[in-house]
Symmetry: C2
Subunit: 128 residues, 2 copies
């Protein structure tokens, strides 16, 4: 059996939204295999690629995990703060960073297509 990409995407997004921590592709896969045992990794990776391209989810590059976008910052810079203790992720809009990032790129006539900003540390709850 086969599902449309759009359906897959909202299914995966649902799974992401049902968890309050970032999920790896394989964690998502395991979750979805409960109801759909035949499912395999490439389906998940393809769906995640679509979701991140659309800005509906983000990949945390530094921990190889994914979160749903909760920010609606299509045109801007997502800033993802990751608690190293509890793995909670806080999402901010980094529009304010753009001028400075652009200035850095211009130093060497680099043409940016995507900015990655992640902050590791401790969330309020975990900071003693």
């Amino acid at each position: 059996m086969r599902k449309q990409a759009a359906t897959r995407q909202s299914d995966v997004l649902d799974v992401l939204n049902q968890h309050d921590k970032p999920m790896t592709a394989y964690a998502i896969l395991d979750q979805m295999k409960v109801g759909e045992p035949g499912l395999a990794a490439p389906t998940i990776y393809r769906t995640l690629a679509a979701l991140t391209e659309q800005g509906r989810a983000h990949k945390l590059e530094s921990i190889n995990a994914f979160v749903p976008c909760r920010c609606a910052h299509e045109t801007s810079v997502p800033v993802l703060a990751i608690c190293e203790e509890c793995l909670a992720v806080e999402e901010h809009d980094g529009a304010q960073l753009l001028p400075q990032l652009t200035a850095l790129s211009q130093k060497s006539a680099f043409e940016p297509t995507r900015h990655i900003v992640e902050i590791h540390g401790r969330c309020q709850t975990c900071a003693t």
Copy 2:
């Protein structure tokens, strides 16, 4: 036979410096195995962990590769611009970004320990 960590570290840094593109851990391993066939992945990963902790090398989190630090910005924010076409990496010091990044963290009383800033795009040479 066995080598001191410090020696391993400068060996690995030498390999990184001899290439003008970022290298994966396994690319470094292959290179070093030429002269030292017994070498295995954990040695490389341990050495890279030490080098990145010391700020003598950086991991490009978005492409799982490493470059030697050419910036001497121990206390600041490394900004790594990666050309998606030729993989050249330009390193900048992002000290100017710190106030804004700090402001974002403070919004939710997040205590940052490490900032990750990467820019994907095209370098001057590859931008037509």
